[in-house]
Amino acid sequence: MLPQLAAKAQASGVETALRWHANETVSMTMRQGVLLANQRARSSGISARVFRNGAFGFAALPDDSADALDRALRRAAENAELAPRAGAQPLAPAAPGRGLFDYRRTDARKFTAAERVELFRTLDAAIAAKYPDLVTRDLNLTLFCSEKALATSGGAETFSAVPRVIFHVSLALEAKDGIVDLYDAMGGFGEIEDHLADVDSLLARIDALYDDLRRKAEGAFCEAGPQDVVLDSNVAGILAHEAVGHTCEADLVLAGSIAGDRLGQRVASEKITLGDFGGRGPDGRSSFAIHVDDEGTPCADTLLIEKGVLKTFMHNRDTAQRLGAAPAGNARAFAFSDEPLIRMRNTCILPGDDPLDDMIGAIEHGYYFRRATNGQADLTGEFMFGVNCGREIRNGKLGRALRDTTISGVAFDMLKSVTHVGPTLSWSPSGWCGKKQPITVGMGGPAIKCRVHVGGRS
């Protein structure tokens, strides 16, 4: 497919990107032993994006024939004429990205559909037998692989196939005041064989989840208001993504993000260096991989904040031209029918050298937040995310478990309050981001101590 795309892109005579793209998802859901979903979905097709006279035209078809490529190119050119224009500018130049990046397993040993279901039955039966006091138990598996071939009129030619596994276990108990639930996400980069082959280690994770749920059922609601907190490394990733990452996306900068006026300014504690990385992140262990973006730009690492100073934004070729920057490979599309948008890749705070015990010991009255749920960012730099697991900190020691809460803050205020940065970088196994389209992202970080606004009951 790639040679065909390259030939058509080269012959197009205009700024063109042609993409063949297939997303394949296998998903299973079991609730209380009942298999509610067991399905495979494959979505594939080709797209053409044409840039002409300062506007984009895009067309996609669920087909990959030579005729379909011609039709998509023709419609994209027609669409470019229909797009309103507000001052024509060229796109920023970018070196053509090249290479084949196929991360799928090549060995013959693959889980069959029967083995996947058997794994669920085994785990469900074990949970039901060991924890009869649970009100409900859910197992949810998503195997996702995004496969792309891309060629541009600028000479980019690349193919990638990036798989990921997300396995959720959710448990619920009846507490004195109602239902209390908790989930854990496992998996990450790769395929099911890489993450779910060892049943004993999965059961150990589930035992730990149950213990956390038991403590949570007897736990306390947070005290509402500003609090000193330790965010575990599992939580710091969503902080990097929501609090800083979105604020530094150049399309949001152009739409009024507060970061737009802060380039070169101190926006964080000197302990904070935060970046958005290509490949699999600075340690090569993120749950997502990218080498060339969907405009054909090679992915370069970007330090957004370096030792507390805001250094740059994330761009596509359009915003790079408008803001006088160099594109680093952040233009990404989720499905064959989607146009590339400015998206994060592997975003993380780089580790420091402060032990977790020192952070907890430094707090007289606050909280230790261990797991995050959903989050959201804002142009003002305000961020929020849900927390479903944590402990009180009283006089430097861990106290009662916590019920669900939400934390918020203003990114550049919160980052200035960081006094400790831990030594261990960890990545969320299941980062997704929503912005017109969903997309897989890597989110990581070490534990940090900072001050945030906490939701509560009192």
Binding site: L36, N79, P226, G456
Partner: protein, 431 residues
């Protein structure tokens, strides 16, 4: 090229031939066109032609599903094989099966194709009017789209449906910016059958844009307090979304619904009703049949504060051995007899909540999050826009404490809501 209902029937026939006891399929052919307009970055016109087939097969009481784009025979056979492999590996359940006993449907709504040039012109005019009339507003693009979707359904018991919907939709994410100050972003959107020439005057947009400009000067609430919340129509899903989840057959099956024993009981005051209207005449985002081919139906979920019925879909109806009551969700909260201004005049202390940015409420419906684009109310008057403010409480309790719904409502094309006033939320300002 085959019609969607023929492709659905073809998929079912192939599945039966390959060994399925029963099968069902939906085939959707979609033509989509959008104008994504921005004055600050390059605009985009985008078209997508798509064909998607969703197939579910049953074998020995076990279920497996597969979906694909396109209609090539080899791809369809591969999807049939994947669905059958999933079914063979599955867990038998007496609730598995296809629908029967319904009359076939053939419905048709809205225009068949967009006037692309008119849509482009409407967006250009929208951009100019926005710049002239709301100079402090900045956007991350405005999106005006048209979708023509024809969906055919078939199952192995002879059920056949076909429906076509031609729908215009609009969405805008925006903020106000002036002299280095930026407000929180806000967004709104709608769906409708007919095109819209004056996008700026549509839906709740003008009010939201005016409020955004007023939000450049924010202040924190004076102190932490327990007070009232008035949810705007754009923010009503903060309550309605989690409530619908807690009233679903899936929550009943899990045993986690706080309403599980409350059918027939008063769960809200008499001024509040929640109606499901997937066949609402103005609901371009409605549906005539569900994913099992069962025709959708109107349902009074909560009527006059009384929980009348749960939202139980086809599978959960069979699983829980109760009637099917839902298959698609398009909610209406009927308006009341008070104007918003009268409701505000009665508030001692509270928040006009225009957007909620918070963690997903848990099964007990505890919630906590940030009030965005929101205003502080004291002694019956809106005193000004709020800076970062945390709002928390329990949605079951907020439902019980509703004391007014407004006369004014907004029809979003997939739901229709008024302003909803309730009390008992903990409101906590940032320092």
């Amino acid at each position: 090229m085959s019609a969607p209902q023929d492709l659905a029937a073809e998929a079912v026939a192939r599945a039966k031939k390959a060994g399925a006891d029963e099968a069902q399929a939906a085939a959707a052919r979609t033509s989509y066109f959008e104008i994504d307009y921005s004055s600050r970055r390059a605009s985009l016109a985008r078209s997508v032609d798509s064909l998607r087939i969703d197939l579910t097969v049953f074998r020995a009481g076990k279920r497996g599903s597969a979906s694909l784009t396109g209609a090539r025979g080899a791809d369809l056979d591969e999807a049939v094989a994947a669905a059958l492999a999933a079914a063979e590996a599955g867990v038998p359940d007496p609730a598995n099966g296809v629908a029967e006993g319904f009359d076939s449907l053939a419905t048709d709504y809205g225009p068949e194709r967009p006037d692309r040039a008119a849509m482009s012109a409407a967006m250009t005019e929208f951009g100019a009017a926005l710049a002239e009339q709301h100079p402090k507003i900045v956007t991350d693009g405005a999106l005006y789209a048209f979708t023509d979707a024809e969906t055919g359904f078939a199952n192995s018991r002879g059920l056949r449906h076909v429906t076509r919907r031609g729908v215009h939709s609009f969405g805008l994410m925006f903020a106000a910016r002036d002299a280095g100050r930026t407000t929180s972003f806000n967004h709104t959107g709608w769906q409708r059958f007919e095109p819209c020439a004056d996008l700026l005057a549509s839906g709740s947009l003008r009010r939201l844009l005016d409020e955004a400009a007023l939000s450049l000067d924010t202040k924190p609430a004076p102190q932490k307090f327990v007070g009232d919340l008035i949810l705007t129509p754009d923010a009503a899903d903060t309550l309605i979304g989690p409530l619908a989840g807690a009233l679903s057959g899936h929550a009943l099956f899990a045993g986690t619904s706080p309403f599980k024993d409350k059918r027939g009981a008063l769960v809200a005051p008499p001024c509040f009703s929640l109606l499901n209207r997937p066949r609402g005449a103005t609901f371009a985002g409605g549906a005539d049949f569900d994913s099992y081919g069962a025709p959708t139906q109107d349902l009074d979920v909560i009527r006059g504060g009384v929980l009348n019925e749960f939202l139980v879909d086809f599978f959960m109806a069979r699983k829980l051995e109760r009637p099917q009551t839902a298959g698609a969700q398009n909610f209406v909260v009927p308006g009341g007899d008070k104007a918003l201004s009268d409701i505000v005049a009665g508030v001692k202390r509270g928040v006009l909540l225009a957007r909620f940015s918070g963690g997903i409420p848990n099964s007990a419906l505890d919630f906590a999050g940030v009030a965005k684009n929101s205003f502080y109310i004291e002694d019956g008057e809106i005193r000004g826009a709020l800076s970062e403010t945390m709002v928390s409480g329990n949605l079951q309790e907020l439902l019980r404490q509703i004391y007014a719904v407004s006369r004014e409502t907004v029809d979003f094309g997939s739901c229709r809501y008024p302003y909803i006033a309730t009390s008992g939320a903990l409101i906590s300002p940032a320092p």
